[in-house]
């Protein structure tokens, strides 16, 4: 198929023809119209063609969020090439691997990031540099006419790989077209929409944010690193009247924890990237009026593969990932590739038009993970083995139950634990390493690496941490590095991961009494303190200094208390009168009451008097 509308950049050009003067992109108080964006992209695309970019040629894009980033993505597509996002925050080693593996012949970047590519041998183009692009003319501003096939690549996204190296997922135009068609059926994105571009562009869920431009939406681009600043996001959503926004659940959780304002323009909130918990779902439904969509899909299935729109039921215990998107299918299979009965747990497989072409330079891995689809009548049809466990719910939607292998999702990032342990084992003085996810404080999942050093020259924890920081993105650097003389083993001789010692000190190791928190405020304070001390359970009578506290930790704790409870306790009071949770809770309570005037207190009392016994009991939980 080679009709013009099969391709996203052509759809974008069609939108430009219809609404040339409408605002396409807003960034930090400046904007570009559709016509302006298209002309910029065309100029860059013409230049890329001259540099030899064409079908399936990979072009690296290493940029901060900016107009240039949006321009670059469309320019690469217009030139017929495939873009490869290179996060500027990646360590040099990782960037070098991505460049080598993708064989990117051109890298588009910005001046401030160009020094990261000193050893790159291809063409490096800092697009914000004066004279980098051809001058504006009728020829260079005009759309290009590159013949395309729908199986040509649109992009290559790199994901964590168990071999220790990330692997490139090749996505063709046909797959994206299928996904965007579903997106449009569901969200009816139009010229009235303002979509926030805040997902890191090295994360494939960001793809649809950029491509909402093909439906006439206005793309509001958050400032670099702005996606981590909740106060900024609240204000941006409000000020820019955003109608569609996407979050990773962890980020949504912290976002909702900030002070909320009404966002009357917000229509849809999409969560993707990791599991949406029932409690977060309920919290969202209570706080926000926008529609919530839980979308699921590995990069290999092109952005999303299943979707579920919230039913606003705050009592539900599980949040489904929904049903297959149009043009695709999902199967839950047992080890013999047989479909499991409703309610039974099996492995999730995805088939249909949205599947990626495979892994770049890895036909072996492609064959291993993209297997023949025995349920399809289409010759040569494949299905992708997600590695996730799942089951069918009675309403025929799918519930995802987590990973089936060594791959984990942590704070929205997909991580192959093997990649970290392989990296550690590449250190000349590490013999063997194992990486696991621990949850020593409930709800707080962290990576822990255990390593056996070389007997003669053992590296220290800080040396190894620095070594990993130079080679892995920050989210893959374990919170704990634990030196071991030998690993515990299972009877069959494998490393017994469950028997690896906790890097957190255990309460059970000490004979002193533990008193659990008794009130809401004590619980909150225990949560706050636990972030600072390496102990699994903090008792309300534990002394701050005995736990390892000092004045700097105290100031940080007081800042957290002010953020969480809007209460200010002085440092002197904490260090003299509030050295246990029990005593500090009293200070917090006094301060809470002192900050509240009589009238407000009376109003609260009146509200409480009108509560039923059930409501009062619920309040005390």
């Amino acid at each position: 198929m080679n009709t013009r509308h099969a391709f996203i950049h052509h759809q974008f050009e069609e939108q430009v023809r219809q609404t040339p003067d409408r605002t396409a992109v807003v960034f930090e108080g400046h904007s570009l119209t559709y016509e302006e964006l298209n002309q910029r992209a065309n100029r860059l695309a013409h230049h890329l063609c001259q540099l030899g970019v064409g079908h399936d040629v990979r072009v690296g894009i290493c940029m901060e969020r900016s107009f240039e980033m949006v321009t670059a993505i469309f320019a690469v597509l217009k030139a017929g090439g495939a873009y490869v996002p290179l996060d500027p925050d990646y360590p040099k080693d990782r960037l070098e691997h991505l460049l080598t593996d993708s064989q990117a012949s051109v890298v588009l970047t910005q001046q401030q990031l160009a020094q990261q590519f000193t050893s790159y041998s291809g063409t490096l183009l800092a697009v914000d540099e004066a004279g980098a692009l051809p001058v504006s003319s009728q020829d260079t501003n005009a759309n290009l006419d590159i013949p395309m096939h729908e199986q040509h690549l649109a992009y290559v996204y790199y994901t964590s790989g168990s071999t220790g190296k990330p692997k490139g997922v090749m996505v063709a135009h046909s797959a994206i077209r299928s996904r965007l068609a579903w997106l449009q059926e569901t969200f009816q994105i139009g010229e009235a929409d303002r979509v926030l571009q805040k997902s890191p562009y090295s994360f494939d869920v960001a793809v649809w944010e950029f491509l909402s431009l093909i439906y006439g939406a206005c793309l509001v681009v958050a400032k670099p690193k702005g996606h981590l600043d909740n106060a900024y996001l609240w204000s941006l959503l409000d000020r820019e009247q955003i109608t569609i926004v996407q979050f990773v659940p962890t980020m949504l959780q912290t976002f909702l924890a900030e002070q909320a304002v009404e966002l009357p323009h917000l229509r849809h909130v999409i969560v993707a990237g990791e599991a949406l918990t029932a409690s977060l779902h309920a919290r969202f439904c209570r706080m926000m009026s926008a529609q919530l969509h839980n979308l699921y899909g590995p990069t290999e299935t092109t952005i999303f593969a299943t979707g579920w729109t919230s039913d606003l039921d705050t009592s539900r215990n599980e949040v489904p990932i929904g049903k297959a998107l149009s043009g695709g299918d999902v199967y839950i299979l047992n080890e013999r590739y047989e479909k499991v009965a409703p309610g039974e747990v099996g492995e999730l497989y995805i088939s249909g038009a949205g599947l990626a072409r495979g892994y770049l330079n890895r036909p072996d891995l492609t064959a291993e993970r993209f297997v023949p689809d025995p349920f399809s009548s289409e010759p040569g049809a494949r299905m992708y083995e997600t590695g996730d466990l799942a089951r069918w719910l009675p309403d025929k939607s799918v519930e995802c139950l987590g990973r089936n292998d060594d791959q984990v999702k942590l704070r929205g990032y997909r991580i192959e634990l093997g990649e970290i342990s392989t990296m550690l084992e590449e250190h000349p003085n590490v013999r063997q390493a194992v990486v696991i996810v621990r949850e020593d404080h409930p709800g707080d999942q962290r990576l822990a690496a255990y390593y056996m050093p070389d007997a003669t020259s053992a590296p220290s924890v800080s040396e190894l941490r620095a070594y990993l920081q130079d080679r892995l993105p920050e989210y893959m650097v374990p919170s704990y590095l634990v030196e071991m003389e030998q690993f515990p083993l299972t009877p069959s001789g494998k490393t017994d991961r469950k028997a690896l010692p906790s890097p957190v000190l255990s309460r059970d190791m000490i004979s002193g009494g533990y008193t659990a928190p008794e009130s809401y405020i004590q619980e909150e304070l225990c949560n706050i303190w636990s972030a600072f001390f390496n102990l699994d359970r903090i008792g309300i009578d534990d002394d701050f200094i005995d736990l390892g506290g000092h004045s700097l930790v105290a100031t940080q704790i007081l800042v957290r208390i002010q953020q969480t409870l809007d209460v200010k306790v002085s440092l002197k009071d904490m260090l003299t009168k509030g050295k246990t949770i029990r005593a500090l809770a009293e200070l917090v309570e006094e301060s809470l009451l002192a900050d509240t005037d009589e009238q407000e207190l009376e109003q609260l009392m009146r509200e409480m008097e009108q509560m039923s016994e059930d409501e009062l009991a619920a309040l005390m939980k």
Partner: protein, 456 residues
Amino acid sequence: MANFVLSTHMTNGDVLPFLRIASALVKRGHQATLVTHGVFEPMAAKAGIGFVALDEPEEYAGIMKDLEMWKDPDMHQTYENKYYSIDKFMKEYTILKELCSREDSVLICKERDSYVAMMVSEALHVPIVTVVLAPSYATQLQVWKQMEADITAIDRINDFRKRIGLPPISGLAGWMGTVKKHIGFWHESFDAALDLPDWAIPIETVGFPLADSAEYETLPEDLTTFIQEREPPLLITGGTGKMIKPEFYWSAIEACKWMKRRTILVTRHEEFVHCELPDYIRWYKILPLAGVYPLVSGVINHGGIGTVSAAMFAGTPQLILGADTDRPDNGLRVKNMGVGDYLPPLYWQPQLVAERVEGILTSQTKARCVRLAEQLSRHDTMKTACEEIETLIDQPAYAISSETIRADYEQAERMRDHTAAQVKASTEERDEQLYDEKRAALKKLLLKRKLDKGSV
């Protein structure tokens, strides 16, 4: 050659580094005079540096004992009355002023508590550099900002400043911020072991101020015999000060008893030795520790930076039982560097301490200690420190400026008015609509109180 005047107070750990800088400066041809407690005079004489005593040697034990007043908030005022008096300030001011009369004088003082040296710098336009003794102190200014309202010393300082014709200061943090040069007495590997927040004061690290050869004294003969008769013993030392939890000695001694390991115990305070010691534990009130560290298998210490760095220099593994001040931070750094371990007080139980001691005596830890010691021995701290300090000679721009202090004071006054108005406005606004979280917390609290009173 220039005239250096060094001012410091308190424990061995606070004074010895200054003694070593002074000695290094003298060796480079400068004149250097240390102004501190009289008890340090013999050491200064041995190091060949100038010395002026602030007090009599026999007063020192009392000064150390009085430090305990900081443990009790009710005693803070008493402490300040005694040590922040106009008379004490005046005595030190007169000494330092006279020593700084030469044009090419440079003041070197300990960060945060050399009030008088700072005033001399300002009054006489003498360049000043502060010496920061441990990384965690780089964040103390921020802590002080929060404590400021509670420190009454400001009024006393301003009284004294008025007397010598200097403008008032707005607060300690702002005042300390007027010093333009800080050097940090720790090694870059120690610096890299734990990140400091972005707002920590900028410090040039110069290395650990390791013991000068003059400080190595001959060890008592019975100690040498004890060390040599069997495998190397452990060493327990909690520093010279008394600002230490008594449980430190209790748990360390009991742990050594648990392991039945030969041990040298050093403390001058009898009350810390809680029991009759078995014959494999030898107690000394004072020892020239610099010479002992290389001979022992491991050191159980309190995490004071002087002890920590001396053990590192000797290539000896250490277990830090650290509490409060810079000690937990030092402990975590040692742990991260793999040259020892750290336990907070909650875990100071004999069996646990014993387990951790066994943990630091592995060949891997020892190998790391030896590697670090080699690295430290190749670094010339005093040369680096002297070069940094010498950049201040004839540079009056490094003196504390009264103009800056005046401007800071005026701005603080304006901020105080502004903040008061803002607090009033925001309180009014907040009262109109309390945050949801706070409402929930308040409701729970009120309900709990009602339940406790049995009225619901």
